[in-house]
Symmetry: C2
Subunit: 375 residues, 2 copies
């Protein structure tokens, strides 16, 4: 039986493959999956569970209630200086579905979508699944920055959207105000959507600029976000999309045909998170400590580490240590040290591996000890 051609090409996640393979080893330090080790705030869970005891959860309003959406808009406005209302917001099944439904909503067959490598591994296949054409632009040789020259050289008359991850998974790079402003100034004149994946924007170590603050692109900006990373709520599947209000009904229709509705209890948890747990400085401090320790220790061991200023990943160049390709390097590291990392090839760039800083500092100390003896 023949199936869809794009689906046939899909690879099972390299990240999950390595993570599952690592389970065969004793005493593994698993730095593969982008899943916080810091637990969901206990009181947040308990409050939500109390609510669930006394309430029947039917279908929630399609794409979330006015209250859900207002809280998300206000959170953005307060934290990032934007000017959104509930008319800009729809809720999704995690930010994964936010991204897949958003891409589906805007892409027509043969539309080009510019994706900067290293990229979040799902972007290119999601564009292909929508019959768009992913245009991969490698910025690893440009200090991981999207400059205007690079952007201009990639844009064609068929460009429908650009996707940007900020803070970046897999590098931890946070885009500067100038970098974003230059992009927005250029795109504002064009019929090109900006998909800003800002899922990690509660976890930054310095200043942060959201794409949402630039009024010149407000008719073409799609922001995806959610609670998985900031509130360690991965398994609850609660995310949202911020879109131009004139287009919201289209995004809503596409999402609701795709998944029906968001998850009722997870929506309530989102409300509680935004009302009561919107300050996560202590958690950010933990990730920052891990990032700074690991950057420093790895650099001492002659690895070139991309400067991490947000999210919880290090993107580590190992080319002074080994000339293996990234998959072989990652497998070798796993076999000899029982440290599991993700090869750069999963993100479209060779010579690197990604380390998720989602284990405690003691384990990171141990990881460094093991890497010291790694050849």
């Amino acid at each position: 039986m023949e199936i869809n051609k794009q689906v046939k090409e899909l690879q099972y996640s390299v990240i999950r493959t390595i993570s599952e393979k690592s389970a065969k080893y004793q005493n593994v330090i698993n730095l593969t999956i982008g899943e916080p080790d810091i637990p969901t705030p206990k009181q947040l869970i308990l409050e939500a569970l109390e609510l669930a005891k006394n309430k029947h959860f039917g279908y929630p309003p399609t794409a979330g209630s006015v209250l859900n959406r207002t809280l998300a808009a206000e959170h953005y406005n307060k934290k990032f200086g934007t000017d959104f209302t509930h008319e800009n917001v729809l809720f999704n099944i995690g930010s994964s579905e936010a991204i897949s439904s958003a891409i589906k909503t805007i892409i027509n067959p043969e539309d080009e979508v510019i994706i900067f490598a290293p990229y979040y591994p799902a972007y290119p296949p999601l564009v292909s699944l929508a019959y768009g054409i992913p245009i991969i632009v490698d910025i690893s040789k440009n200090n991981f920055k999207v400059t205007l020259d690079i952007l201009k050289s990639a844009v064609t008359s068929k460009t429908k959207a650009i996707i940007l991850s900020n803070p970046c998974n897999p590098t931890g790079v946070v885009m500067s105000y100038e970098e974003i402003k230059n992009i927005c100034d250029y795109i504002s004149e064009k019929d090109i959507f900006i998909i800003a994946d800002e899922i990690y924007n509660m976890i930054t170590f310095d200043e942060y600029t959201s794409f949402g603050i630039f009024p010149t692109i407000k008719d073409k900006l799609i922001i995806t976000n959610g609670f998985s990373k900031s509130h360690s709520m991965t398994g609850w599947r609660n995310g949202y999309t911020i879109v131009p209000k004139e287009l919201r009904q289209y995004f809503l229709n596409a999402s609701s045909y795709n998944v029906g509705s968001p998850v009722a209890l997870s929506l309530e948890m989102g409300n509680i998170a935004l009302n009561k747990y919107d300050e996560i400085d202590e958690i950010v401090a933990i990730y920052k400590e891990r990032a700074e320790y690991m950057m420093s220790a790895l650099r001492e061991l002659n690895y070139d580490v991309v400067e991490c200023r947000g999210a919880f990943y290090l993107f580590v160049n190992y080319e002074k240590i080994s000339n293996k390709n990234s998959l072989d390097f990652a497998m070798d590291l796993l076999e000899k040290t029982q440290i599991a990392v993700v090869p750069g090839m999963a993100f479209g760039v060779e010579g690197y591996v990604r380390m998720a800083l989602t284990v405690g500092i003691d384990k990171l100390h141990e990881a460094i000890e093991r890497i010291k003896n790694f050849k």
Copy 2:
């Protein structure tokens, strides 16, 4: 800004539109939404919540654990005489996402998909969103049965799949063994998938035949199901797909790129439902009482009601009462009696309305009193 052409054509659900409109009236009897009024078993909820107190829910395994999938397979085998294992099953975000991801997985552009009217309203747009061509075949003049003649006349060299809802939403018709066997015998020789939407198959009043019992189609059968209707778990978004095991990885990849993973707590609730609440005879008896009362009362009032033997819908022909189109009839009924029903046009058939039997018998008595005076 131009968006996707298919998304642009999507209509906001007629069912939700009427339901929302009905909220403007006082004392409405809302028979629009297919959402059980019977609450989720209280103990099921409490047990799940207790579990959630003591467990951190990270990402569940993609498409559900072996345990989740084994329980679903065993449930099917025990209830419906099939022979599935965990290798046939993947979990989804409700059966909505099961259907949307399944259609995406198999359809290439221009593939034809046969849909029988009256149909569940999402089928045609989901096929169009995947760039397939919905081929609508009206069976309302054929006693709502899919006979071999009808099927043969619709199949072409481009037919990729047929979609069947059994028990049928919106009619409550349950397909006979012979009817299904004839379809399977015919399709078994062809490269055509059967998508059997069996979401209502725990709610039937007589014998029930699953498409899963016919070995001749096991390489081309896709069953979608879930817990929303049988266990009143609509807001928890937990459904599953049963597929040929050789193809399971493709369905899994498509779903995981689409939504990431299922919902961790909802998967646990599914386990509890299958382990401890797999007998729902009392609930079925309630729906049966409502269906039989309403069929009889409406027929006395000169409405032609399709014989309902499962699910919780009546499909009611009003042509002896009115020659309005179904939208006008539904609006007139709402205005004059404050009874909200869904026009047949939402299901691709005129001259009918759908009544969801999702209110208590007392309200149904009152509905009949109101309809008696309706002109």
